[in-house]
């Protein structure tokens, strides 16, 4: 039967491990925002080679499952002589994967702005740099916030896959816990509860942001 005591006891170690889930998804989205901005810029640039590169980058990272990407990086790094902790490799892989989605979110947000605005800015004599920093980017960034929060929720869930390369985040910790207690049902449901709590909080933040922008 379902043992409530085991269920409640599982929360201790799993909540401790939750910091790594948050760390990986938080740093992952941060890295994804930076690389995603560069990829988005390359995609919108006037240079065909850069545009092509960005398109291949996005298509590869969105076409290959994250689990395969993680194992690829995990086995590739020693071969090319890069020795970093598994945690760093995981964050970088998650961040690179996120960059493909982030760049598409930003491209969409920029495309959603009415063309008339930049035309008007040109008409009143603003420089291209000013148009980007004062008209396009501020609006595109706030337009993209709900989608970015959504992406962060996806990353929290995707971070469960880094358990495969041995990082003690929630999923890996729950596997260890299930092995020592022999009560997988309680432990995995506890893990699911923690993920759900994190994601419901993030979704609430997303709704607030969306609401703010609608006004």
């Amino acid at each position: 039967m379902f043992s409530v005591a085991t269920f409640i006891d599982s929360f201790g170690p799993l909540l401790y491990a939750a910091r790594y889930t948050l760390l990986i998804s938080g740093l992952g989205i941060a890295l994804g925002l930076v690389i995603g901005a560069l990829i988005c810029a390359a995609r919108l640039s006037p240079f065909p080679a850069l545009r092509r590169f960005a398109a291949v980058w996005v298509s590869f990272l969105r076409g290959v499952p994250l689990l395969v990407q993680l194992l690829l990086v995990y086995y590739l790094l020693p071969v090319i002589g890069i020795d970093v902790p598994a945690m760093v490799a995981a964050v970088v892989t998650v961040g690179i994967c996120a960059s493909a989605y982030v760049s598409e979110i930003w491209r969409g947000a920029i495309a959603a702005l009415p063309r008339g605005q930049s035309e008007a800015a040109v008409a009143i004599g603003m420089s291209p740099g000013d148009i980007w920093t004062r008209i396009i980017l501020p609006q595109a960034v706030s337009l993209s916030l709900p989608a970015l929060v959504n992406e962060l929720i996806l990353l929290v869930k995707a971070s469960s896959l880094v358990s495969v390369v041995g990082i003690m985040e929630i999923t890996r910790a729950s596997q260890a816990q299930a092995a020592t207690t022999y009560r997988p049902l309680e432990v995995y449901i506890a893990a699911a509860c923690i993920y759900l709590a994190i994601n419901l909080c993030l979704a609430a933040v997303g709704r607030v942001l969306e609401h703010r922008m609608a006004v």
């Binding site: 590869f60 194992l71 469960s160 896959l161 997988p184 993920y195």
Partner: protein, 220 residues
């Protein structure tokens, strides 16, 4: 890089690919069916029922697929639900996909102009007939692009089944890698393979989309 290992392991790789496709097809079809039922129930059921279903949707969408599989495959036997890896994987894909499909159907139904349903009621069509002849045909067409898109996302989720030992492609590639000590090659080819697969399926999906939505394109 030694291409011979792929030749040598081709029988199990092909079998693995077959299982990947099988799990994906069944998971997608069942997930869509469950999603459609959920969307219809959400539309017509009384309030308390919709709350329960809304909770199901939030729970499934708020938790990782891997953890859902662990609950089902390792936790299931504790409550008498004993499944082999492949059935567990297909059930897992069905459950995981159903709320996303349900939301896609829901927004598809919302895109059906309300006037058409009112008109159907006005000429005395019964509610089941309205669903069958107005809501479904019109709603499904507008849901199609999102349905195709999510089905493509599900192909990538199938690799996670390897973690609960479903002998699909990812699992067989890991087995090949462990036996030959060629971890990099196997995973590299697997990545290229999925890239190609996803590209092919998306092209194919776009073809179906343009075919089915032909009548919506306005001719000049």
């Amino acid at each position: 890089m030694d291409p011979m290992i792929f030749v040598q392991y081709s029988p199990i790789l092909i079998r693995g690919f077959g299982l990947t496709i099988l799990a994906w097809l069944l998971g997608t079809v069942f997930g869509m069916a469950l999603g459609l039922v959920i969307a219809l129930v959400q539309r017509y059921a009384p309030k308390p029922v919709t709350w329960v279903i809304q909770a199901y949707i939030e729970i499934v969408r708020g938790t990782p697929f891997l953890v859902q599989l662990f609950v089902l495959y390792y936790g299931g036997p504790m409550v008498g639900l004993r499944l082999d890896p492949l059935p567990a994987g297909i059930v897992g894909l069905t459950i995981y996909g159903s709320p996303y499909f349900a939301e896609i159907f829901r927004s598809g139904f919302r895109a059906v102009p309300h006037g058409q349903i009112e008109a159907a009621r006005a000429i005395g069509m019964a509610e089941p007939a309205i669903v069958r002849r107005i809501l479904l045909p019109l709603g499904l067409v507008s849901a199609l692009p999102a349905l195709v898109n999510f089905s493509i996302i599900l192909t990538k989720e199938t690799v996670i089944l390897s973690i609960i030992t479903v002998p699909e492609l990812m699992y067989q590639v890991q087995r090949m890698s462990t036996e030959t000590f060629r971890f990099l090659e196997g995973n590299f080819v697997l990545a290229l393979f999925f890239w190609g697969l996803v590209e092919v399926i998306s092209r194919f999906g776009r073809r179906i989309e343009t075919r089915i939505t032909r009548h919506l394109i306005e001719r000049p």
